[in-house]
């Protein structure tokens, strides 16, 4: 019983870890560049959850000050992640533009084929 309660109390961490290793696996195992970028963004999104979920207090509300509420969730991780999301899209767009240039140069976006063409 205690083990089940422990599991439920840490369920968010387990899902975060699963998303993280899934992102890592996609980045390492797949050769397609767009797939790699999606894996990278999955990894990044799991970090958002890792920051935000400990900031939640059960019974608290969103950190917008109002006389009717006294308990708020922690605003600091929200700020950090807000900036991280927008930086994330900027770097993702940069990666996609590099992918487009690679495709124009090598006519492929698979890693193995690019290595083969470079050796020739």
């Amino acid at each position: 019983m205690i083990i089940i309660n422990q599991f439920i109390a840490s369920y968010n961490y387990f899902i975060i870890i699963f998303l993280m290793i899934a992102g890592l696996y996609i980045v390492v195992a797949r050769g397609n560049m767009i797939k790699k970028l999606i894996g990278l963004s999955v990894f990044q999104t799991s970090v958002y959850l890792l920051y935000i979920s400990p900031g939640k207090i059960i019974g608290g509300t969103a950190p917008i000050i109002n006389d009717n509420y006294t308990l708020y969730s922690n605003p600091l991780p929200h700020v950090l992640i807000l900036t991280a999301i927008v930086v994330g899209i900027a770097t993702l767009a940069l990666g996609l533009s590099l992918t487009i240039r690679i495709n124009e140069e090598f006519n492929t976006i698979e890693e193995d084929e690019i290595f083969n063409k470079e050796e020739l």
């Binding site: 917008i64 807000l82 900036t83 927008v86 899209i89 900027a90 767009a93 533009s97 487009i100």
Partner: protein
């Protein structure tokens, strides 16, 4: 013309509301969820929607590429100059009390100004990125 009449009419109807919503999110950032980042992205989404439905050439008549390219550095400059303004007036960098001394008025104004800078940079860069992607055909 083509068979996308519904799409074009719907875009025409929705577009003012999208821009209106962006402005609302921008100016309401002090009291509810919102701010420069979200508003900038929503604004860019409106332009992207128009470009997808009406084609590149017509979109660039109303939303010229040059304008958005200029917007990228302008936003950063607004932000930086706000910081330098308070620095010149003998306060810390980005201390908005320099703008107005009536209680928290300076803070309100300063936050509005730099959120405007953020909006300009974010929407400018998003639209520029999108235009560069579709130009590459």
């Amino acid at each position: 013309m083509r068979l996308d009449v519904i799409l074009r009419i719907a875009t025409k109807i929705f577009l003012p509301f999208i821009f209106m919503f962006a402005i609302y999110v921008q100016l309401h950032g002090d009291f509810g969820p919102g701010g420069g980042f979200q508003a900038g992205v929503i604004l860019a989404a409106g332009v992207v929607l128009y470009t997808i439905t009406f084609g590149e050439r017509k979109a660039k008549e109303y939303f010229p590429e040059k304008l958005f390219e200029i917007m990228i550095p302008v936003g950063v400059l607004i932000f930086l100059l706000t910081g330098l303004y308070s620095l010149i007036h003998g306060y810390n960098f980005l201390d908005y009390t320099a703008i107005s001394h009536h209680g928290t008025h300076g803070q309100h104004l300063g936050v509005l100004i730099i959120e405007m800078g953020v909006l300009i940079t974010v929407s400018g860069s998003m639209v520029t990125i999108f235009y560069n992607f579709i130009n590459r055909d």
